[in-house]
């Protein structure tokens, strides 16, 4: 489903020096596959996910998502592609504070235009019910615990029925118990909905909960 070849990304720092962050010769994920990528902080894992999601563009190489080469799309088309095919779970949940739990879930649907009208609300309610927040659909993020906020973020990530979910350190802000619960929830929800999962984390305990795991250094061969 996702095939990456010769992907490169570098940034210029304030002094004008070029830092090579990403250099991936080959990487792929099949449909309904769940993969955990381990790596130390600052190794470029988030940049890698941003490239896969199309939030940033690569310097060279290709990111083939089924029959679409994401790296060749314009920014606007990458946005449109992401809204329909990719769900994103962040370390800091990134919920909109002015919106209720259900509105946060519905936001993603709105931008993808996959669902419309009452269906949005019904599906969002079902998803929040699924993550155990049926009674807190109208609570704002500030009225939810951190664990509950991450569950809203999980529901939002699957709201568009994406083919791939990217999870960037999804447990870094949670305690151990809530972290384990969140990972199990993400894994189960992806499995049930036949969504591939690409999770990155620096926490060994989290990585070990996956059958398929790989070190980021193994796939990213950066030479600075």
């Amino acid at each position: 489903m996702l095939t990456i070849k010769n992907l490169q990304k570098s940034f210029k720092n304030a002094d004008g020096e070029v830092s090579h962050i990403i250099n991936i010769a080959e990487f792929s994920i099949a449909e309904n596959y769940q993969l955990a990528v381990s790596g130390r902080s600052g190794s470029g894992k988030s940049t890698f996910l941003n490239l896969v999601s199309g939030i940033i563009s690569s310097d060279s190489g290709s990111i083939q998502f089924n029959d679409v080469n994401i790296s060749s799309l314009s920014e606007s088309k990458r946005d449109a592609f992401r809204s329909k095919n990719i769900g994103y779970i962040f370390q800091t949940f990134n919920l909109l504070q002015a919106f209720t739990a259900i509105e946060n879930v519905m936001l993603g649907m709105m931008f993808s235009k996959k669902f419309a009208g009452n269906n949005d609300r019904k599906k969002a309610e079902a998803l929040l019910n699924k993550v155990g927040l049926a009674k807190k659909t109208n609570n704002k993020p500030s009225e939810l615990s951190v664990g509950e906020q991450q569950r809203v973020a999980i529901a939002r990530a699957v709201a568009n029925s994406p083919k791939l979910i990217l999870a960037d350190e999804p447990t870094a802000n949670l305690d151990v118990k809530n972290g384990e619960l969140a990972i199990d929830l993400i894994k189960n929800i992806c499995k049930e909905n036949k969504i591939s999962l690409l999770l990155v984390s620096h926490e060994a305990d989290i990585i070990n909960r996956f059958d398929n795991k790989i070190s980021f250094e193994e796939i990213n061969k950066v030479v600075n």
Partner: protein, 419 residues
């Protein structure tokens, strides 16, 4: 979920700043609209005030002074004319109606106008509008008076009450009682319905009443000088309002009088509507300055949208980045900010228009009493739509600056955890 809902959430999230911005726009627009409504309605009212007759005849001098003095009861009369000016014009075959005005006295700053009873029966002060009695009856004898609606309100005079007039068309501070004609008491026989014209502030009586007071006053002065020569009562008039039988006589009669070709008449004939137009040309310049100031207020208010939204951009970068990560296009973000600018300027502008009408409506009596013209505040003009559209357009233009900033928000760096 729609873009409008996202925008509304954003406005609500920053409700104080949003409300203050809308409030400043509302004030600016209310100021512009109020000035324009008052200008429009007062211009209409002033023009209508003089439409019941075609010509004013008065002593030679300033035509504007004659108009202001006769129609609006402002300023002092030029001079007086011989009484036969009135009789000659009244008997002219081209004249349908001639109403004489004799000025010279006042009661508590309400001018006494000596005139003929036809002013109530035949004369139209505006097109198809005749004076109506609210109470009592029109005067039939000398030293009876019919008072305007506002005169009754301000002086407290009722039908049957009596009062003493003072010399001069206006009183001034400290002059009370000094120049009173105590020998002559007027009795109020009637109170007029409100006309929303300067006539609401006057007192009508017979010409003879005014003449007699002044004749008596002159005789007293002669007596003081031991001069006992008998003198005839001097009959003079201040102005004549002329209504013609046909518009075809209009120019000819006016020219005859002005070019001294009307035998026995040495006066000027002015067209009130023309004089009013000239007056508005003078006032118009002051009005233009007021309107420019009001537009500047709106401009400054609209700039507050820019300040308000631009200042919020830093705290909104993360929200924008989150929406972008969920698939919102750059154009969608641009539209969200522009819609916010639209809503703030539209609501502010709309309330500005509503508030200006409500204020004018609430204070219509005060304005009417002060200016002597009828202001309703209930009529909406097309210019209000243009002001609203202009405010919204200006709002959108200034919102473009923060909208472009939002458009170019870097997604990846703003999604990163805040350390």
């Amino acid at each position: 979920m729609s873009l409008f809902k996202i925008v509304w959430k954003s406005i609500k999230q920053r409700s104080l700043a949003s409300v203050l911005t809308m409030f400043s726009i509302m004030l600016g627009v209310a100021l512009v609209v109020s000035i324009l409504i008052l200008k429009q309605e007062s211009q209409d009212a002033f023009s209508q005030t003089a439409t019941g007759y075609e010509i004013i005849v008065g002593p030679k001098g300033s035509s504007l002074q004659l108009t202001l003095n006769t129609i609006y009861q402002i300023g002092v009369p030029i001079q007086n004319m011989p009484y036969d000016t009135y009789t000659k014009l009244k008997d002219d075959k081209r004249v349908k109606l001639a109403i004489p005005y004799v000025l010279g006295d006042n009661f508590k700053n309400h001018r006494l106008i000596g005139t003929v009873p036809e002013v109530f029966t035949d004369f139209s002060y505006q097109k198809d509008k005749k004076y109506q009695l609210k109470d009592g009856k029109f005067f039939t004898k000398d030293f009876e008076a019919v008072i305007g609606n506002e005169t009754a309100l301000k002086t407290g005079l009722k039908v049957g009450d009596t009062f003493i007039g003072s010399h001069g068309v206006e009183s001034y501070e400290g002059s009370e009682g000094m120049f009173e004609h105590a020998e002559f008491k007027f009795t109020v026989t009637g109170i007029l319905e409100k006309t929303f014209t300067p006539i609401d502030k006057v007192v009508f009586t017979s010409m003879n009443s005014v003449w007699e007071i002044h004749h008596h006053e002159a005789e007293e002065k002669y007596k003081e000088r031991n001069d006992t020569t008998h003198r005839e009562m001097e009959k003079s008039i201040t102005a004549i309002l002329i209504s013609l039988k046909s518009p075809v006589y209009f120019d000819l009669l006016r020219r005859q009088i002005n070019e001294n070709k009307f035998e026995g008449i040495n006066a000027q004939a002015v067209i009130p509507t023309f004089e009013i137009k000239q007056l508005f040309d003078i006032i118009g310049n002051i009005n233009s300055i007021l309107i420019i100031i009001a537009y500047l207020v709106v401009f400054v208010a609209v700039i507050s949208i820019l300040v308000s939204i631009y200042n919020s951009m830093n705290e909104r970068k993360r929200d924008i980045a989150i929406m972008r990560s969920l698939g919102a296009r750059k154009n969608t973000i641009l539209n969200i900010i522009l819609i916010e600018g639209f809503i703030v300027s539209f609501i502010g502008g709309l309330f500005g228009i509503i508030v200006s009408h409500v204020l004018i409506f609430l204070f219509r009596d005060t304005i009417s009493n002060t200016a002597g013209i009828q202001i309703s505040g209930t009529l909406f003009n097309i210019f209000e739509f243009y002001i609203l559209a202009g405010t919204v357009a200006l709002g959108l233009i200034v919102t473009l600056i923060p909208a472009l900033k939002a458009y170019n928000t870097d997604v990846a760096s703003n999604l990163a955890p805040v350390s």
